[in-house]
Structures are given as structure tokens and as C-alpha cells.
């Protein structure tokens, strides 16, 4: 039995069907029709102690719903979840003592309270003993470089500072597992990098089992050992990052604005033409076939190009690929 077990879990939501128009609105006062939306559709996976797993997929894939079931907020419609032998929604409080959860899109901090006092509040909520409290506050203030903004009310902190504070507070009671739901969302590149480094250190130094959801490909490549990819509630991939990259990664798109209409000229077959829009053509290529630098040089040397743009595959591309390749 693994540490975290998810067996054939389904989560359906009943959503009121809304139709346009006043008459339909009045009708719905008396009679409502419901649609069943399946957010998580027969998903199974296991996670061992100490793993760092990226739970990835595009928006609306069912990532947050899974995290909410794992943390005991939502009850699965079918299937079974155990976390260290405990069924989260049945023993919500017991489960809550062992986990830390950070929702990137919302705050669990008190707006008017400086972090110093927020730590106090969390000590009371989690009944943390004084020694452990002192040790952890020191450790995380140091790790997250929070010294400079400890005394400022939370409402005045930057997004990056707030996220550091959120993670620190979620770790104060020494949880065995940390769930991070979109921890880098909305942050700038520098702040994202900081958060990523912190996450890796927490996992390696504190040996905390870590599961993070994201749809940022850089998050995935830079921190995750293992990837679980879902889309529309279904599991598409579960395995090591290396295999994941080999299988789905490495694709990129080049958008070329030609100075003249390059009618009829053959382009290197390693670059696959996917769309034409006037003098703008879009090609897709794969790193294992042709490196980005070579592709760029090819266009510059052989054509009169007014503009070039390269874009690495994002999660939507990867998911699309996964469907194509199975």
C-alpha cells in the first residue's frame, strides 16, 4: 500500500442548467434541470512518501478537484482515496493535521495582519507546541527570506511575497504532505524562479511529500521528478519527467513573416507547415529532428525574413500531442 492511493476516483458535479431569456428564468424558479459534469473521471494513481509530483493539465482538467478530494474538502462520487491509511473526507480533521494546502488563486492569510501575527494565529489553529513553533518560524523566515516584510500587513505585500508567506504558513505545523494548487500563477519570472527553488528545497531538506498542480511548462521541467497529466478529468500520462519530455516535449512553433510572398519555394521537410496567413507562415518542428538554432539559421540564411518568432510548446500543445500519440 502506497502513501497516497487514488483508486478509480470519480467526481461529478450537478450543475443547474441555465437557459437564456426571461421566460426560461421564470420557469427555472419552479422546475430546474441539472447537467452532470464529470470533473474527475476514473483516475487512479499512487504516490510514495517523499515524492515530488507535478499534477498537470490545462485549465478545467480536474486538477483542483483532485486536490480538494485529497485534502478532504470534497467527497468523491465514486472510487476510493486513502492518505497514509486515512480516508480524507471521513477523517477530515485527522487528515488536515498531516497536510498543508496552498491554493494559489486565493489567500488564507488575514488581510490586515502582519506575518508575525499570522504565525501566532496559525500556532493557535494547529496547536503547535512552542518549541516546534519557534524552530519552524525561524527556519521558514530564513528559507523564504521573509525578514524584510514580517511587520507589514499582508495587504501591502507583493504577489511573490504573499505566495512565500502562504507556503510558510502551510508548513508551520510540519505537515508530511504539501499540496500546492497553482503556486506560481500570476507571478513574474523572477518570483516564479524563487518559488520553484523553495519548493525543491522543502522537498529535499524537509522530506515533505509534495504534489503541485500547474499548467506552466517551466514549473514542470524545473521542479517535478514525476508527472501525472490529466485532461477533461481523465489520466493521460503518469511517469518520470525524462520520459515525459521525450514522449511529448521538444516541440516548438516558428512563426515566420516573409518579406516577399515565397510562392512555390520548398522549405526543409523537417519543418512542418501548419498554417498560412498572407505572408505569415507557421511551422511546427521537434528538437530531436532539428534544433531551434538550426531552424532559425535556416530561415535567415535562405529567405528574406522580416520577422521570426519561436514559441516552446505549452501545456495545451502537449495535451494535444498526447491525444495524437495516445
Amino acid at each position: 500500500m502506497s502513501y497516497i492511493n487514488v483508486e478509480n476516483v470519480v467526481k461529478e458535479f450537478k450543475v443547474v442548467r441555465r437557459e437564456k431569456g426571461l421566460i426560461n428564468a421564470l420557469k427555472s424558479l419552479f422546475h430546474r434541470e441539472y447537467d452532470i459534469v464529470t470533473a474527475v473521471d476514473h483516475i487512479s494513481f499512487t504516490i510514495d512518501k517523499g515524492e515530488l509530483v507535478g499534477y498537470i493539465g490545462p485549465n478545467g482538467a480536474g486538477k483542483s478537484t483532485t486536490i480538494k478530494m485529497l485534502s478532504g474538502i470534497l467527497v468523491p462520487t465514486a472510487g476510493r482515496i486513502t492518505v497514509d491509511g486515512v480516508i480524507p473526507h471521513q477523517n477530515r480533521k485527522e487528515n488536515a493535521r498531516r497536510i498543508g494546502v496552498v491554493f494559489g488563486q486565493r489567500s488564507s492569510l488575514e488581510w490586515d495582519l502582519p506575518m508575525e501575527e499570522t504565525f501566532d494565529l496559525f500556532q493557535k489553529i494547529y496547536r503547535i507546541d512552542d518549541r516546534m513553533y519557534k524552530r519552524n518560524v525561524e527556519f521558514y523566515v530564513e528559507l523564504f527570506a521573509m525578514q524584510s516584510f514580517l511587520k507589514r500587513p499582508v495587504r501591502q505585500l507583493s504577489l511573490g511575497q504573499k505566495m512565500r508567506a502562504e507556503i510558510a504558513v502551510a508548513l508551520l505545523h510540519d505537515p508530511e504532505i504539501l499540496y500546492l494548487d497553482e503556486p506560481t500563477i500570476g507571478l513574474d519570472v523572477v518570483a516564479k524562479n524563487h518559488i520553484r527553488q523553495f519548493i525543491k528545497r522543502i522537498n529535499s531538506e524537509k522530506k515533505i511529500t509534495l504534489m503541485l498542480t500547474t499548467h506552466d511548462m517551466d514549473d514542470i521541467e524545473q521542479i517535478c521528478d514525476r508527472i501525472i497529466m490529466i485532461d477533461q478529468g481523465k489520466l493521460l500520462y503518469d511517469g518520470f519527467l525524462q520520459n515525459f519530455k521525450e514522449k511529448y516535449g521538444g516541440e516548438y512553433t516558428i512563426t515566420v513573416d516573409f518579406a516577399y510572398a515565397e510562392e512555390g519555394r520548398e522549405v526543409d521537410p523537417r519543418l512542418q507547415l501548419v498554417s498560412i496567413e498572407g505572408q505569415r507562415k507557421v511551422y511546427v518542428a521537434h528538437r530531436s529532428v532539428i534544433e531551434t538554432t538550426e531552424a532559425l539559421r535556416y530561415f535567415i540564411d535562405n529567405f528574406d525574413v522580416s520577422h521570426l518568432n519561436i514559441r516552446e510548446a505549452d501545456i495545451e500543445d502537449v495535451v494535444r500531442n498526447a491525444y495524437v500519440k495516445g
Binding site: A96, I99, F103, R106, E117, L121, I125, Y126, P153
Partner: protein, 265 residues
């Protein structure tokens, strides 16, 4: 003990916030005073004009108003945030943040809901009740004083049960304003003696929505009224009714939380 410490901590936090938003705090207190003070005078003027209502003198009717306000303020002091703010908690996702903590969400929300604004209600209510007892020349014996305290506790539990029950649909994101209207509207009825209404209203306010136990029945006891409705033991029943209703309301709220669906993100 755990929740008591947590409560103290939140009181500290709320007081700190008040200090930082002083202006809006005092504006709120004054507004509350004015609106409830207006209710007080409206009731007073109405009763004065009638001299008496079905054998109830102005002071006696005003006592109903005082008891209703006092018990409501007590209930709202602890439960207003839990009951009325729950919709925001669901929509903003803050309820998720509470459910991942090792706490009873009901008790946590009570702790978190410390609301100083109700001190203005409570002081107005106490003031009203003192005026009434003095005006009537009634001096309460220690036993009666204990009965009064227990009745107000029971009445507060009835108010609390109503607040809590009507908040459950909001947990499921079904905005049912109907139940709110029922609650806030019905509250006005009990500022006057139940005995002035027709039988149907009396039955409803005793057995279906037992708001009669908030002021009318217990007031009979303190005023020595004998216009009993249904059964002469009802003036003693406020506390048991309150405890029973509150228990049901709490179970219903837990049932609501167990079926919480979240907001999708």
C-alpha cells in the same frame, strides 16, 4: 479550550483592524444605533397611541421589543458572520481554506466572526428592558433574574437556529432569498403580543416557526400575564425550545457542509 484561545486571538485581530479603520467602525456603530433606535421609537409611539394592546400596556409591549432585540443581538454577535457571510466564503473559496484546517468549521467560523457592532444593539436592548421594568414597578427576584437570563439564552438560540438554518442553501450556492425574507419578516411579528393575532398566526408562531418563545411567552412569566395560549407551561419552554432548535440547526449545517461542492477552481 482550543477554540476559546482561538477566539481570543481573533478578538485581538478584529480589534486591531478596528483601530486601523476607526472612521468606518464608528460610522457603523452610529448607523446601527440610529436604525434600531428608530425601531424602538416606532414601537413606542404605536403603543402609546393605543394605550394598550389586548391588555398589554406600552411598557409591557416595549419589553417584548427589548427581549427580541437583546436575544437577536446575542445570536448575531456569535452567528452573523457564519450565517450571512457564508455566501462570500463559498464564492471566494475561503471556505476551502477553512476545511483544510484541523478545526470544526462551525466553531472556527464563530471564533472568526467576532463582531463588535452588536454592542450597540445589546446596550440599546438592555436600556429598553431596564426602562420597562422600572416603568412597571417590577423588581425581579434573584430567581426571576435567573429565569430571565435563561429565557434570553433560549431566545438567542432560537434566533441563532434561524440564522444558521437559512444559511445552509448558500453553502450549496443556491441563493434562496425566500428563507431570509421569511426570517426577517417574521421577526417583526413578535414585537407585539401574540395574543392580538388570529389563531392561524398564533399556531404558526408557536409550533411551526416558534418565534413566540423569543419574547411573548417568557414575557408573560415576568409580567404576571395570564392570557395563556395553548398551555400555561409555555412561558417556561423558551430554553428547551431554543436548545432543541439549535441542535437541529447545527445538524442541518453539518449536513450542508458534507454536501459542499466548492466552486470548481
Amino acid at each position: 479550550m482550543h477554540y476559546f484561545r482561538l477566539y481570543l486571538q481573533f478578538i485581538k485581530i478584529r480589534l486591531t483592524s478596528i483601530v486601523s479603520y476607526r472612521g468606518s467602525f464608528f460610522a457603523g456603530v452610529i448607523a446601527q444605533f440610529l436604525s434600531y433606535g428608530a425601531g424602538f421609537f416606532a414601537t413606542w409611539l404605536l403603543v402609546k397611541a393605543f394605550h394598550e394592546l389586548n391588555g398589554w400596556t406600552p411598557y409591557e409591549v416595549l419589553l417584548l421589543y427589548g427581549m427580541n432585540l437583546f436575544s437577536y443581538a446575542l445570536a448575531a454577535f456569535f452567528f452573523f458572520n457564519l450565517a450571512v457571510d457564508i455566501e462570500n466564503l463559498v464564492i471566494s473559496g475561503r471556505l476551502d481554506g477553512i476545511l483544510v484546517k484541523p478545526v470544526n468549521p462551525f466553531l472556527y467560523l464563530i471564533c472568526n466572526g467576532f463582531n463588535v457592532a452588536y454592542f450597540s444593539h445589546i446596550s440599546l436592548a438592555v436600556f429598553t428592558m431596564i426602562i420597562c421594568f422600572r416603568g412597571l414597578g417590577i423588581s425581579l427576584t434573584p430567581i426571576m433574574l435567573v429565569m430571565l437570563a435563561l429565557s434570553i439564552l433560549g431566545a438567542a438560540l432560537i434566533h441563532a437556529a434561524a440564522l444558521v438554518m437559512t444559511s445552509v442553501p448558500a453553502i450549496w450556492m443556491l441563493r434562496v432569498r425566500f428563507s431570509d425574507i421569511l426570517y426577517w419578516g417574521m421577526r417583526e411579528f413578535i414585537n407585539y403580543p401574540l395574543s392580538i393575532y388570529n389563531r392561524a398566526v398564533q399556531v404558526i408562531l408557536t409550533f411551526i416557526l416558534p418565534y413566540g418563545f423569543i419574547s411573548f411567552y417568557p414575557a408573560q412569566l415576568f409580567l404576571g400575564k395570564e392570557d395563556y395560549l395553548f398551555h400555561p407551561s409555555l412561558p417556561y419552554a423558551t430554553l428547551p425550545v431554543g436548545l432543541g432548535l439549535f441542535f437541529v440547526a447545527y445538524r442541518f449545517w453539518r449536513y450542508g457542509i458534507d454536501r459542499y461542492q466548492g466552486t470548481g477552481t
